[in-house]
Each structure stands twice: as structure tokens, then as C-alpha cells.
């Protein structure tokens, strides 16, 4: 399968590193939030996360609530400043002395949030909301308005009809289209979509997913798509990153992750998906219990408290994220995959 959409060459005057340079590299990102009233305790929201985003691909990020996927999204834009780790955008370090500044990064990376109403200013007609970004970035007002009209048209909203309206006059799907238009109005190269369709009805979700795919082709965009819905991630992503309690447990091409999941957590997630077929119902839950509290996460492999294959080694040692059976593209962090881990089920690759 093609990781990069190759039917169109990626031509962008802002491209610095060439097609082989990942658009975004995250290295060992870490963000712990201190807990009020509990001295020394913190929520380990993101704890040493590394990955690349290739130019033109869609990287899907899945995980349950509290796994740190939304914090990770905010770290990528420096909306939350990481405690440690580095970000490299198209070959330039973010917020480093000889790298790219955060405001320059935000011209090239935009974000769409889950709550389509809360992300729009309720007192601003939507044409002004969409024009605000280009205006702030130095466009004259008439030019910014022209961009807004054009972008609203591209997301399927008639600017004459919808432009003067306020957010409360729009449906959920229309508001999310406005948010997408606002993200695109500044001409970004990359869009981070944090649960963009989770609050929408199924029939509207499909419309927005189709729109996102069309816009990606039209504007040569790169997406980071965060969702808790595995089916949506499977449909939209080229590669998938699975998170559990602030760590990456598996990362690889979407087909490999969904056809041959290597980590027991990924397997459990996939096994928990409703079958859509009343004749093949799930009889036993793949795993029991809830995800643990990210304050005080379990030692060693964080999944060991719920893993059906856990052994003492899982409790004491952190499994490294490595390429075991899936070749150079498919990585997972589990002792069972590492022949030298000491886990009794570990096999040679």
C-alpha cells in the first residue's frame, strides 16, 4: 500500500526538506500535569512519545479516554508546551534558536476540535470567524474576506447564505464545516483533527469524512487524525498510532494494524468493536476493567493490569517500542514480541 499519495507531486513553495523529509517529527515528547492537592503527583498525559508524520499522509491516532491523545495533539501545535522532547517541522526544530518559531509553525499547522460550537466565537458571524486567521496573519480586510468566501465555498457552504449567520444558527455538521474552513483559510500544510466527527450524527459524519478526503487531495494536506472510533480511523488513515496511558503501544500501516495487530491492547480494542451483525455477537469481552487512572499509572508495561498474557517481567520492565515481526514499518511495544525479554510467550521473529 502507498503511504504517500503519489498521484500528485507535492509542490509547495514552503517545502524545505523535500519529499523524503517527514513533515513533522516528534521525539520523546513528554507532558505531565501536576495534580492540585497531591504533592509530587502528576497526570502523565504524554510520556515519551515519538513518531513521524510523512508529507501527504494521514496519521490516525487512536486510544481510549485519558490515553493522552488530545494532549498530544495540543503539544504538536505548542498549545500546550511540552515538558521535554523535541518537535521538528520539515527539518527545522520547533522553538529552537536556529529553528522555526511557534507563530511560524502555526501558519503551517492548523487544528480542528471536537466541539464545533465551543470552538467558534458565538458573537461573530461565521464569515468573520473564517476571515480572522488570514487577517491576523497580515492580509488586508477585503482580501481576508475574499479568502473566507472562497474557503466557505470549498467546504460546501454558500458564502452568501451562511456567511452572515452566527454559529447557533447552524447545525452540527455545518459548524464543523466552518471550523474546517477556518483551519484552511490560513493555507496550512498540515491539519490536526482532534475527534472532528465524534459529536456528529452518522449520516453527517460520512459527509464530513468525504469532505476531509476531498480537501486533502485538493490542497495537498497532511493530516493527523485523532479519534476513539476505530472504524473511522481505519477508513481515513494511511498509518495508525495506538496510544495507551500516555505511551505508544503500536504504530504501523493501517492495513497491518487492522489485519495483524501485534499488541494485546490493539487486539482487545479491535475485538471490542461491535460486529454490525446480530448473528455474530461478541460473547465475551476481550478484556475486563477500565483503563487505569493516569495519575499513578502501572509500572513496567502500563497495560499489564488488564493484559490476559501479563507475566512478572511485564510488571517490572518497560517494553521498548521496536520493530519485531512487522518489518521496518510496523512497531509495537510488548515483551511477547521481543525474543530476549524473558516472557514465556516470546518467540523468535
Amino acid at each position: 500500500m502507498a503511504v504517500i499519495d503519489t498521484d500528485k507531486p507535492i509542490l509547495d513553495a514552503r517545502d524545505r526538506g523535500g519529499p523524503a523529509q517527514p513533515l513533522l517529527i516528534a521525539r520523546d515528547l513528554k507532558k505531565h500535569f501536576p495534580v492540585k492537592g497531591a504533592r509530587g503527583k502528576s497526570v502523565q498525559a504524554v510520556d515519551g512519545v515519538s513518531f513521524d508524520v510523512q508529507k501527504g499522509e494521514t496519521l490516525g491516532i487512536v486510544g481510549e479516554s485519558g490515553c493522552g491523545k488530545s494532549t498530544l495533539a495540543r503539544l504538536l501545535l505548542h498549545l500546550v508546551v511540552p515538558d521535554a522532547g523535541e518537535l521538528v517541522f520539515d527539518g527545522e526544530g520547533v522553538d529552537t534558536p536556529d529553528g522555526i518559531r511557534v507563530d511560524a509553525l502555526r501558519r503551517q499547522v492548523q487544528m480542528v476540535f471536537q466541539d464545533s460550537y465551543a470552538s467558534l466565537n458565538p458573537r461573530m458571524p461565521i464569515r468573520d470567524s473564517v476571515a480572522f486567521g488570514p487577517f491576523i496573519q497580515g492580509k488586508k480586510k477585503p482580501a481576508a474576506r475574499e479568502i473566507a468566501r472562497d474557503t466557505l465555498r470549498k467546504v460546501g457552504l454558500d458564502p452568501e447564505l451562511f456567511g452572515p449567520r452566527y454559529p447557533h444558527e447552524l447545525s452540527g455538521g455545518q459548524k464543523q464545516r466552518v471550523n474546517i474552513a477556518r483551519a484552511l483559510a490560513t493555507g496550512p500544510r498540515m491539519v490536526i483533527l482532534d475527534e472532528p466527527v465524534s459529536a456528529l450524527d452518522k449520516s453527517v459524519e460520512a459527509q464530513v469524512l468525504n469532505l476531509l478526503r476531498a480537501l486533502k487531495r485538493q490542497f495537498n494536506l497532511t493530516y493527523v487524525f485523532i479519534s476513539h472510533d476505530l472504524s473511522v480511523v481505519q477508513y481515513i488513515s494511511d498509518r495508525v498510532l495506538v496510544m495507551y496511558l500516555g505511551r505508544v503501544v503500536e504504530l504501523g500501516p493501517a492495513d497491518a494494524i487492522f489485519d495483524k495487530p501485534q499488541h494485546p491492547y490493539t487486539q482487545a480494542l479491535l475485538g471490542s468493536r461491535p460486529s454490525m451483525d446480530p448473528a455474530r455477537r461478541i460473547e465475551e469481552p476481550p478484556i475486563t476493567g477500565d483503563p487505569p487512572n493516569p495519575i499513578d499509572p502501572p509500572s513496567g508495561c502500563r497495560f499489564h493490569t488488564r493484559c490476559p498474557f501479563a507475566e512478572p517481567v511485564c510488571e517490572t520492565r518497560d517494553p521498548p517500542l521496536g520493530f519485531w515481526r512487522g518489518g521496518e514499518a510496523h512497531a509495537a511495544a510488548c515483551h511477547m514480541l521481543d525474543p530476549h525479554s524473558g516472557h514465556s510467550l516470546a518467540r523468535d521473529a
Partner: protein, 330 residues
Amino acid sequence: MLERTHGNAPLAEIQDLGVRFVGREATVHAVNGVSFAVRAGEVLCILGESGSGKSVTLRALMRLLPRQARIEGSVRIGNEDVLAMPARQLRDLRGGLVSMIFQEPMTALDPVYTVGQQIGETLCRHSGMTRIPARARALELLELVRIPSPERRLDAYPHELSGGLRQRAMIAMALSCNPRLLLADEPTTALDATVQVQVLILLRRLQRELGMGMIFVTHDLGVAAEIADTIAVMYAGRIVESGPVAAVLGAPAHPYTQGLLASTVHGQPRDRDIDAIPGSPPDMRKLLPGCSFAPRCAQRLPACRLHTPEARWPAPDHMAACLRVPASLG
């Protein structure tokens, strides 16, 4: 223990239910003539998108609606006319014969009382138990819903429990007085995927073991496929299709159900668009005459705009309200 109805008499029978919310500026026609029946031991799923009237229908069964709601039609549960009931009798019904679980246990449970106190209160109110036996029964109930270390959890406040445990505690409370009908309003929607399937399996098991009837409201086709015996699909305050789960999901007859199935993402090829239903649901303040789905329907006929399509029967137990469905059995 209450006697359980056996045989074919429906546990709940709803006929021509209508709910309007009358406001100063507009009237919202939330439910417009809904009829269905549930038997003991049967799970009916009401499937619909937001604004389809599915939750309002469910709440109307217990008259849990605000004062400006105007309810019409008839709701009979276990031979009682719920809509005609005086307030006092209604309080006996709620939590006794019929009980309900909600989407968000954090707001449905009282944050300042422990789980044990809240379950105990229900028991004392309905079965006249005193505190100590009520606590023992509450412990049994926590075991029934498979809460680990239940003794400790009896004295826990809702915020001390995880989402999945809170939902189990709410189920325990709902089951405390052996209801014959359990109403569930999207009880797994707020849960994580690995927890959702656990709660679904638990509800299915309890419903079967206790022989309850259940009405389960959801927007999720996958959840409906996991739990339903029969499905009623709602659109704009009406049931547009109903029947056994295998028939409705396997061979949907109404264009809306067909569209909903096609637009739900489940393993479609990645290089093609999803067959989305165009447009958005109608404004429930100004419903137009005719089939409410017609403006979005690819198969509409001129007659669809004239009057509300009546029920047609592709099979004896499978109903679809659509002019495209053959009027007689094929």
C-alpha cells in the same frame, strides 16, 4: 418478587404517542404518532440520530418530561395507564415496575451520597426495607453487576469510581426493585470501546436472566446489532421502519435505514467516498407535510411530499413506512 408476565401479553404497549414542546416562540413536534409494544424478555432498540425523538419517546413512558411537554396517545405498562396516573402512583411506578438507566452516570448519580446509600434509598422507598437489610441487598446487587471488591465500593462516592464502574452502579440501582421493564437511554455511549462491550454483555445477560423487557435507545447501529431482538428506526419523531434485528439490519426496506447503514463507517474501501445521506434532518419546529425524509431521499416520488406514508409490511413482522415498499406481501 413480583410476578412476571408470561405468554404473549405485551409488557408495555404504546399507541399513537405524540409529544410536543410548547414554547412562546415555537412548538417543537418531537414525537409524532409512535406505536410499539415490548414483551417480557424482549429487547427493543430504538435507533435514531439526534433530534429524532428517541429519548423523548423513552422519557414519555415514565412521564419524565418537563412541564411544557404535551403528551398525547396512550402508554400502558403492565395494565396500567401511565398517562392517566396520579403523581403518587407514578412515583411507585418509577424505579419499581419500570426503571431507567442514563447515558451519563456522573450526572444521574447523586455526588454527595455513597453508592450504597443511593441503592439503599431506592430499596427503602419501594420495598419498605430498613437500612441494614437494604445494605445487604445493595451488596448483592453490586455483585450481580460484577463490580470487583463490592464491599469497598458500597462506601464509595460516584467520583471515586471509574466510568465503567459508575455505569454498573447505576444499573445495580435500576435493578434494585426487580423492575419488569428497563429503559436504557444510550447507556454505553459515554464509555470507552473496551468498557462499552463489557457493559453491553452485562446488560444482555441480566436482561435474559431476570426475564426483563428492555427498551434500549441508541444512535449506534453496531450497539443495536449487539443487543436488540427488534429494532425501531426513528426519523423526525416517527418510526419509519421496525422489525426483527436481522431483518432491519440485514435487509433494510426504508431508504433512511438503507442510507444509515451505508453511511456508517465499517470497513469500507479506503479509496472511495462513503455513501453519505445528503442534507440534514428537518427542523422539528416546522415539519412539512409528507414523508419527513423525502427532501434527503434519493428514491422519492412526487407523492412522498403529499401525505405521511402509511405502514407497509415487507414481511409479517417487518414494517416500513415508505411508498417505495410494495403495499402487499410479495
